[in-house]
C-alpha cells in the first residue's frame, strides 16, 4: 500500500468536483442577483410575484444546484469501502 491508494484518486476527484460546484454556484448566484438586481426598481420584472433577480438567483439557483448535486452524486460519485480490512479482501 502506498500513496497511490486507489480510493484516494476517487476522493481527490470528488473533492475537486465539490470546489467546481461551489464556484459555479457562486457565479450563478452573483450573476443573477447583481446582474439583474442593479437596475432601478421601476424597471424590475417579476416572476410569481418575486423580483426576477431574486427568483433566478435564489429560487432557480437553489433548484439548479440541488439537481446538479443529485446528478453528480448518482452518476459521478463512486462508492468505496472505508475500513482497512474490507480493502484487503479485495
Amino acid at each position: 500500500m502506498n500513496e497511490t491508494d486507489w480510493r484516494f484518486k476517487i476522493a481527490h476527484r470528488e473533492a475537486l468536483i465539490g470546489v467546481g460546484l461551489a464556484l459555479f454556484n457562486f457565479v450563478w448566484w452573483f450573476g443573477f442577483a447583481y446582474g439583474m438586481g442593479s437596475a432601478p426598481v421601476e424597471e424590475y420584472t417579476y416572476v410569481f410575484g418575486l423580483p426576477a433577480w431574486f427568483f433566478y438567483s435564489c429560487v432557480v439557483g437553489f433548484l439548479v444546484i440541488a439537481v446538479l448535486v443529485m446528478v453528480i452524486v448518482k452518476f459521478f460519485f463512486v462508492g468505496v469501502p472505508f475500513e482497512e480490512e474490507e480493502e484487503e479482501k479485495r
Binding site: D5, A11, G18, L21, F62, G79, F82
Partner: protein, 482 residues
C-alpha cells in the same frame, strides 16, 4: 400563560427525552464506549447524517436572528442567507471520502484526533483544544441565552426559570445518550424545522394576500426592500459575497461540523446525506428568511428582530399550530447546543485528559469522567447564562469566524497537501485567530476593511502562513499510507 401554544411544545420536549433515553439503552450495551459516546459508533445513515448537520448548523441565528434581519433589510438579506446552501454539499464533498478513510485509519473520534495523528504535535493538539474550549463554550452560552429568551417570551416564565427549564432538558439527554442521542434527536428536530417553516411560509403568504400583493406593499413602503442592496442601500455586493466564506465554504473548518463528516457508516450514507442535506438546508434557509421579509407588511413596526418569527406565527396560525411551528427554533437551538456541549466535553476528555493527563485510564473511569465533564460544563454554562459577563458576549462575537480561520487549512490541506506539516499548522492557527481578533477591532473602529466581512482576510492570511511555514521549516512530504 398560553396553554394552546405551550402544550405542543411540551409534547415535543417529551418526545426528545424519550429518544435520548432509548439511545442510552443502546449505549449501555456498547463495547466501545468512547467511539459510541462521542461519535455514535460511526454508523450514521444518510438521513440522520444530513439532518444532524443541518440541525447543528441551523442555530438561533437562522431561525430568529436571520429572519429578524430580513424583516428589516428586505430581499438583500435573503440573498445573503442563501449563501448557506453551499454548506449542504460542500463540507461532505471536500472532507469527503478521504476524511472518512483517514479518520478510520487514525482511529480518530474528534477533529483534534485527526490533527494529532496527521501532524504528530503536542502544540497543535493543545492549541486546538484550547480554541475549541474557549470559543465553543462561549458560542454555546449565547445559544442558551437565546433558548431561554424564547421560552420566556412564549410562556411568560421569568428568564431564570426559563433558563433552568432549558438547561435541564438539554443536559439530561446529552449526558445520558451521547452522540447517538444527539444525532437522532437532531434528525427529529431537523424534520420539525423543515415542516414548521413550510407551514409558516404558506400561512404568511395567505395572510399577506399573495406574494405579488406583499411585494407591492414592500415597494410602496420602501423600494430598496426589494433590491439586493438592503433597506438603506448599504449592503454592498462585496460584503454580501464575503458571507460565502463565513457561512458557506468556511464551515468546513468548524469542529462540530467536521466531526460529523467522520461519523457515517459507508459511501452510500454519505451520498444520500449530500442530496438530503442540500435540499433541506436550501428549503429551510429560503423559507425562514422569506417569512421574515413577508412578515413586514403584515406586522409592521416590530423593533426587536428576534421577536419577528414568534409574533408572526402567533398572528397567522391557530395557537396549537403556532406551538408546533415554534418548536422549530426551539429544536434548532437545542440541537446546536447539544452538539457544542458534546464537542467541548470531548475536547476535554479525549484530547486533553486521555492524551496527556492519564492515557492509561480504565473504561469505567473514562465513562464516569465523560458524563461528569458533560454535566459540569452544562452547569457552568447555566451559571454564566444567568448573568452573562461581557467577556462571554465578546468571545461569542468571533466564535465561528475565529474557529474557521484557525482550522480550515490545517484540516483541508492536512488532508490533501502532502507538504503540510506541524509548523504550518501552528502558524496557520495562530495567524488565523490573531488576525481575526485584530481585524475585528480595526473593523469596529474604522468600518469593514475593503467592505468585506472580518473573516475574509484572516482565512487568506492563515492559508499563506500554512504554506509558507510548511515549506520553510523542515520541509518533508507526508506519507498518507503510513
Amino acid at each position: 400563560m398560553n396553554y394552546a401554544v405551550l402544550i405542543p411544545m411540551i409534547i415535543f420536549l417529551i418526545l426528545i427525552f424519550f429518544i435520548g433515553y432509548w439511545s442510552s439503552r443502546k449505549l449501555a450495551s456498547s463495547s466501545n464506549f468512547i467511539s459510541d459516546y462521542f461519535l455514535g459508533g460511526r454508523e450514521l445513515g444518510g438521513f440522520v447524517l444530513a439532518m444532524t448537520m443541518v440541525a447543528t448548523y441551523g442555530s438561533a441565528s437562522s431561525f430568529l436572528g436571520g429572519p429578524g434581519t430580513a424583516y428589516t433589510m428586505g430581499f438583500g438579506w435573503v440573498l445573503l442567507a442563501m449563501t448557506q446552501v453551499v454548506t449542504g454539499y460542500f463540507v461532505l464533498m471536500i472532507l469527503g471520502k478521504k476524511f472518512a478513510i483517514m479518520a478510520r485509519r487514525y482511529k480518530a473520534v474528534t477533529m483534534i484526533d485527526f490533527l494529532k495523528a496527521r501532524y504528530d504535535s503536542k502544540a497543535v493538539v493543545l492549541l486546538s483544544a484550547l480554541s475549541i474550549i474557549i470559543f465553543l463554550f462561549s458560542a454555546m452560552a449565547a445559544q442558551w441565552i437565546g433558548g431561554a429568551r424564547l421560552i420566556e417570551s412564549l410562556t411568560g416564565l421569568s428568564y431564570n426559570s426559563a433558563l433552568f427549564l432549558f438547561a435541564v432538558s438539554v443536559l439530561v439527554y446529552v449526558t445520558i445518550g451521547g452522540f447517538r442521542a444527539v444525532a437522532l434527536t437532531d434528525a427529529v428536530q431537523g424534520a420539525v424545522m423543515l415542516v414548521g417553516t413550510l407551514i409558516l411560509l404558506i400561512a404568511v403568504i395567505f395572510a399577506g394576500g399573495g406574494i405579488p400583493n406583499i411585494v407591492q406593499d414592500l415597494i410602496n413602503e420602501n423600494p430598496n426592500l426589494v433590491t439586493p442592496y438592503g433597506a438603506e442601500g448599504n449592503l454592498s455586493a462585496a460584503y454580501v459575497s464575503s458571507f460565502w466564506i463565513l457561512v458557506g465554504v468556511g464551515v468546513v473548518g468548524l469542529p462540530q461540523i467536521a466531526v460529523r463528516a467522520m461519523s457515517y457508516k459507508n459511501s452510500r450514507s454519505m451520498h444520500r446525506a449530500l442530496i438530503i442535506g442540500t435540499l433541506v438546508t436550501g428549503i429551510i434557509m429560503l423559507n425562514m428568511h422569506l417569512i421574515g421579509v413577508f412578515a413586514r407588511p403584515i406586522l409592521p413596526g416590530i423593533d426587536v428582530g428576534d421577536k419577528v418569527i414568534p409574533l408572526i406565527a402567533l398572528e397567522t396560525l391557530p395557537a396549537w399550530l403556532a406551538g408546533i411551528v415554534l418548536a422549530a427554533p426551539m429544536a434548532a437551538i437545542m440541537s446546536t447546543v447539544d452538539s457544542l456541549l458534546l464537542i467541548v466535553s470531548s475536547s476535554i476528555v479525549r484530547d486533553v485528559y486521555l492524551n496527556y493527563i492519564k492515557p492509561e485510564a480504565e473504561l469505567k473511569t473514562i465513562k464516569r469522567i465523560s458524563f461528569g465533564v458533560t454535566a459540569m460544563l452544562g452547569i457552568g454554562v447555566f451559571l454564566l447564562a444567568l448573568d452573562p459577563p461581557d467577556l462571554l458576549i465578546f468571545l461569542n462575537l468571533f466564535a465561528f469566524g475565529g474557529l474557521e480561520a484557525a482550522f480550515i487549512w490545517p484540516v483541508v490541506l492536512g488532508l490533501y497537501w502532502k507538504w503540510g506539516n506541524k509548523y504550518g499548522a501552528i502558524a496557520s492557527m495562530i495567524t488565523g485567530i490573531g488576525t481575526y481578533i485584530a481585524l475585528h477591532f480595526y473593523n469596529q473602529e474604522y468600518g469593514n476593511l475593503l467592505g468585506v466581512h472580518t473573516v475574509t482576510f484572516p482565512v487568506m492570511l492563515s492559508l499563506v502562513a500554512f504554506i509558507a511555514f510548511s515549506l520553510l521549516i523542515r520541509r518533508k512530504a507526508y506519507d498518507y499510507a503510513a
